[in-house]
């Protein structure tokens, strides 16, 4: 297996710059993780609350390296037939039917059963060759000639057995197909796994990964994120809205607003031509930030105080 050289990943600073150019503001910690993942050829397990940019990280990385992004969305009941490979049963059956007559020709002149079987043995593996193999995301990622970015999304939603299935792929970058043998990646793909902490992953899986926890960003970082994603927004409004979101996160909410929600909110405020936050505006757009009726009611009662504080702060 060879390692392709990417000048974009030469140093941690370059990674930060590269990501920023693509509109993804990453903290030094994230950049360090990507640097290490590439240097050590290890998968990254990204954890954190929903909406902090876990999936986006993989997408941006693929864009930065100009590699195809292969995504495997995990869910309960996901098995090897959908993740690794499957035999093209229909094709196999069809071919056996079509070739039935051919078989008669081949066996003509064979003396007795033993010889016929002997002759058949010569063709035994035809139906289990790579031609009949349907690659699924994991195998596909191994087969890419230039390498790929493989995103295994929400791995905590998959079953326990599936994790064990991943182990071989993640540590050796290979897939074993019993009928054919081992298919090894020419170029090791960059692998991202994301998890929302739905359940604890097995130690075996965690051990093979670098562990990256992305928390909600700091006020300063989030302002830079909003600036890069919604560049047209007024600076004053940007400060106010980021500060307001941070105050919301301190409340006791069912689901705290994530970065993606901040960006959505900034976009909606821009659409509404807002220049500053006022109560009626926030009240009418609060459903962009908060996704539970209970949370909205909670926040609405604190709204005047929150707004006053964030106005003072910015």
């Amino acid at each position: 297996m060879q390692q392709q050289h990417f000048p974009q990943l030469d140093s941690i600073e370059r990674i930060e710059q590269g990501f920023e150019a693509l509109g993804y503001i990453c903290s030094p910690k994230i950049a360090t993780a990507i640097f290490l993942a590439f240097q050590l050829r290890k998968p990254i397990l990204v954890e954190g609350p929903p909406g902090v940019g876990k999936t986006e990280l993989a997408k941006t990385c693929a864009e930065l390296l100009a590699l195809p992004l292969i995504r495997l969305q995990c869910y309960e009941g996901l098995d090897e037939a959908k993740a690794l490979y499957e035999w093209k049963y229909g094709k196999q059956l069809l071919y056996t039917q079509v070739l039935k007559e051919k078989l008669g020709d081949l066996l003509q002149g064979a003396q007795g059963l033993a010889e016929s079987v002997e002759r058949l043995h010569q063709f035994s593996d035809i139906f289990y060759s790579e031609k009949f193999l349907e690659p699924r995301p994991l195998l596909k990622a191994m087969q890419q000639e230039r390498g790929a970015v493989l995103l295994i999304d929400e791995v905590d939603k998959s079953d326990y057995e599936f994790e064990s299935l991943l182990l071989e792929t993640l540590s050796d970058y290979q897939v074993s197909v019993p009928e054919i043998g081992t298919i090894k990646a020419e170029v090791a793909p960059m692998v991202f796994l994301t998890s929302n902490n739905g359940r604890d992953l097995s130690d075996a899986l965690k051990r093979r990964c670098l562990h990256l926890h992305i928390p909600f960003p700091s006020v300063e970082l989030e302002q830079r994120i909003v600036l890069s994603r919604v560049p047209n927004i007024d600076q004053k409004l940007r400060q106010q809205l980021v500060d307001f979101v941070h105050r919301l996160r301190d409340l006791d909410l069912k689901k705290a607003p994530a970065v993606s929600e901040t960006i959505d909110w900034a976009r909606s405020l821009l659409l509404l031509h807002a220049t500053q936050l006022d109560e009626s505006l926030v009240r009418s757009t609060l459903n962009v930030l908060l996704k539970f009726e209970e949370d909205i009611q909670n926040a609405e009662s604190d709204l005047p105080a929150l707004l006053r504080q964030s106005k003072v702060a910015s």
Binding site: T32, G77, E161
Partner: protein
Amino acid sequence: MQSRLSAFIQVLRSHDVRVSPAETLDAMAVVAALGYAKRQQLRDGLAMSLAKTAREEAVVLRCFDLYFERQMADFKTRDTALGADFSSAQNPEQSASELSELAPNSASSERQELEQAAQHDPALEELLQSELMQHLLDNKRAELSLAIGQAAAEVGLNNIQLFTQKGQYTRRILDALGEEALRKASLSLEQADSPLLETLGSYRDKLRQQASEHVEREYLLLSEGRNRQLSDQLLSRTRLSHLENRYLQRVQELLRKMAKKLADKYSHKPRQGTRGRLDMARTLRGSIANDGLMFDTYWRRKRKDKSQILAICDVSGSVAAYAKFLLLFLYSLQDVLPKVRSFAFSSHLAEVSQLFREHSVERAIELANWRYGGATDYGASLVDFARLALDDINHSTTVIILGDARNNGGDPRLDIMQSIYQRSRRVIWLNPESRRAWGSGDSEMLRYQSACHLVAECNNLQQLERIVDQLLKQN
């Protein structure tokens, strides 16, 4: 550096971070890739490769700060204001570069004075030739730090366990460093009433302080973890009824761990679609009737398994001391497992799943105790349970009963117990009383035992853990 890294990993292990040899190798690869130049990067990188959960990450970061914060005090200044000196030394960035430039100039005058005095004083002469004093005069912090580290290793500082040992170890380290020469020299200077005594004294004080700080850090790093392990062991062997409230928090953590173990086991049963892979053998066999035409395809079916746990907890007076812990276990179980229905009873039984879901652990336990506590009536409670949940019990249900089976002489309603037994996959009864007391007085345990797959005595965490392990093995 390699040995420093593996020593650091030892420290992590004592702090409950599990680090395997393979991860140690990973950590070394990380260090090789990042280099030592940037502290922050190295810190992030090590945390990423060594920690596996957010909690472990916090531990790794804290240990990193303690372990690699080996900043030596500055020995170059003449004034004895130690405090000011240390505050500047706390700042790690400005350390190495500046001192190497400044040190020779300021120390040179001191050195000359000392050398002059040494001509009349054999003790001082000897001191000046020692390596320690050379380092001190040259202000070689890196060497000094190394020397202290080596001395500490010599005297076996890593065996420190109690805080009372700190002074002793500091003394031993100083001895190993060769501080004796310094002491002798200052003694002879004192007799000669030399003005240089103060200079020498300040060196000595700083050295001492460094050594004692080193010991302090090591103590924090090493023994804290060990002591916690010790207290965990103790906690798990104590009878639950004897544990005080203030340990509740720790116990809850332990219980949660255990409940999680159980939960992991049960939640791994996959819920999958009914259609699996093609059953080639069966398809071929089926084709015989159609003259070899594979008309019907057969698919391997996957077993659908929806395991469910019903947990019943006695909160009556007779088990009052245990009820809190049993409820705690129940609470933890429901916390980590989605499909647990919890019930509490004394004279009557009611479902408390909702209660547990809505309230924090302390409040929920209090409420359950208050609402459902009272005199025990297993018979009536079983009737209630049958009414509430018997229809839901099937071959994939596990029923866990926590109670002492003391029925105050009432009808035990064994028939209900038996129908539960027959319908469910598994009935587990955990009794806080010791096995010898079962069947004595009004205990119906021996009769109920016949309708359980597993009965166990359970009055401390260790037993509970063993039962959990047993359960995991059997399935």
